[in-house]
């Protein structure tokens, strides 16, 4: 389609998805920012001030002067929120590292597998990604509950049963289990395209396989590592279902704190402030991710 500039139909191709995303993705964000500067009120909608269009310019001025950063000061003063942010970053960072450790050998083995197996292996990795996160977390709960299969196995082997559910261990296990396809797929995509003559050259020059891996394969797979790590890290920071169902009641990840603030405490302005801050934290990794994606597209280009 070289000619969208030419006619009305061509113009619509750009305008329709653009307008939809602006109306249901961009503008909703602006309203979150605006409500994060408001105060909770016992009204419908439950926040104030409201912009009074009928009052004209004075209404706009009154509205603007009533906005405040009170919610953000409240976030800074209450250690609950700071702890949630730090805990989320810590869990996301550590589990991304774990995902790399678990995912890299799998992706590497997939790339080395015979060519006719690769579509099947790829499908086996993709299939869980299509299965509901809720269902997969529930499947883990089945195994981890107190008289579940894991403890039955431990007892059969002569160990003491342990408490698994409602621990940080369960949260890490749940995250690695749920996000593994997100890590393996970009790694596999990079490793699969790796120029094998480079490894042959390294071997011809006498590099032992392990050395060739460290000096050739690993550095060349950096784009895949970056894409996989960011694709996991960013959504994990805001994860709700996993800490809610597998974590202890004091596993305060920020997505869960936002949920509670919204549904239990019904403090919409404070929940919005939590969301704005979460987004500010994620802006840097999201920007890096977009950059990595753009570079990958150029390479394929």
């Amino acid at each position: 389609m070289n000619a969208p500039q030419r006619g009305l139909a061509g113009r619509l191709v750009v305008v329709v998805p653009y307008l939809w995303l602006a109306a249901f993705f961009l503008l909703p964000f602006l309203i979150v920012v605006r409500i994060s500067l408001s105060q909770a009120a016992l009204a419908q909608p439950p926040y104030e001030p409201l912009l009074d269009w009928a009052a004209g310019w004075e209404g706009v001025q009154a509205f603007l002067s009533a906005l405040s950063f009170d919610n953000f000061t409240a976030l800074a003063e209450d250690t609950l929120y700071l702890d949630s942010y730090l805990k989320s970053l810590q869990i996301a960072g550590l589990s991304t590292a774990l995902l790399l450790l678990v995912g890299y050998p799998i992706a590497y083995a997939m790339a080395r597998a015979p060519r006719r197996w690769q579509p099947v292996l790829l499908m086996l990795i993709i299939l869980p990604f299509w299965t509901s996160l809720l269902i997969r977390v529930y499947a883990l709960m089945n195994i981890l509950q107190h008289d579940g299969l894991l403890n039955q196995l431990l007892v059969a082997l002569g160990f003491e049963p342990r408490v698994w559910l409602a621990t940080d261990t369960a949260v890490y296990l749940g995250i690695v289990y749920s996000y593994l396809p997100f890590m393996v797929l970009p790694l596999y995509a990079t490793l699969e395209r790796l120029d094998q003559s480079l490894l042959e050259a390294a071997a011809d020059l006498g590099a032992p396989p392990w050395n060739a891996f460290w000096t050739v394969t690993l550095p060349l797979s950096r784009p895949g590592i970056a894409a996989g790590a960011l694709l996991c890290f960013i959504p994990i920071v805001g994860e709700f279902i996993i800490p809610d169902l597998l974590g202890a009641s004091d596993t305060l990840m920020i997505g869960r704190t936002l949920w509670t603030e919204f549904f239990a405490n019904r403090d919409w302005p404070l929940a919005s402030a939590v969301a704005v801050l979460l987004l500010l934290i994620l802006v840097v990794p999201i920007a890096i991710y977009q950059h990595v994606q753009a570079r990958a597209l150029e390479r394929e280009g």
């Binding site: 969208p4 998805p17 993705f25 790339a111 042959e200 709700f240 979460l278």
Partner: protein
Amino acid sequence: MRKGLSAFNVTALVLGLAFLYLPIAILVIYSFNASRLVTVWAGWSTQWYAELWNDAALLDAAWTTLRIGLLSATAATVLGTLAAVVLVRVPRFRGRFLFTGLVYAPLVMPEVITGLSLLLWFVALAIDRGFWTITIAHTTVTLCFVAVVVQARLRTFDVSLEEAAMDLGCPPLRTFLTVTLPVIWPAIAAGWVLAFTLSVDDLVIASFTTGPGATTLPIRIYSDVRLGVKPEINAICTIMVALVALGVIAISLLTRRAGRDEAPAR
């Protein structure tokens, strides 16, 4: 990449796949357990599936989920395909940078933020929340996934075919329908199935954008799961897993056959 699997590679693959599939397999097996105690095996039975049929609220939730999935996936496929065409075939227009950002951002955006912002937006516009607000929310998020899938296919598509058609006087829209679409439709179909499963699976965004009377299956499952593991939930989860697996397998066969059909023409 050098081919050939070492013992270490095989171990990594076997352990990795076992880790991914064992919990689901156990869930499926235990959904056929005769005992109400979810941890004690008491022989095979399909009673929990029979019980699903008597749960009117659950069937209602399933029907709502299905309708939202069909509607939002179809809308997302149309919008997402348009977005993909824009990304790949329209190199320059005002606001292209913002547009690219808007297509990729929802893919990594934490669901709690997307859900919260859409809800606040619907409230600010005084739109009654329920079936339609969930449908709009799902369309918005899943259209980006469709765009990514379709644009990947469009990038490998030979532009000279389109150019030849247009040089011969075929208008752009007709070129797209008669030249481009027949080649990229497996990617579009795959995008539709992906959008449908994402919609059917979604809990967080649906919880924010729902209103009275619109309970989806994941919302219902979540409220049950919080109270613990129950055999009926195992059964409904098994049905959902089976449906998704069938969809994915159908799509991969479809894509592969389309790939074979296309191959001799090259």
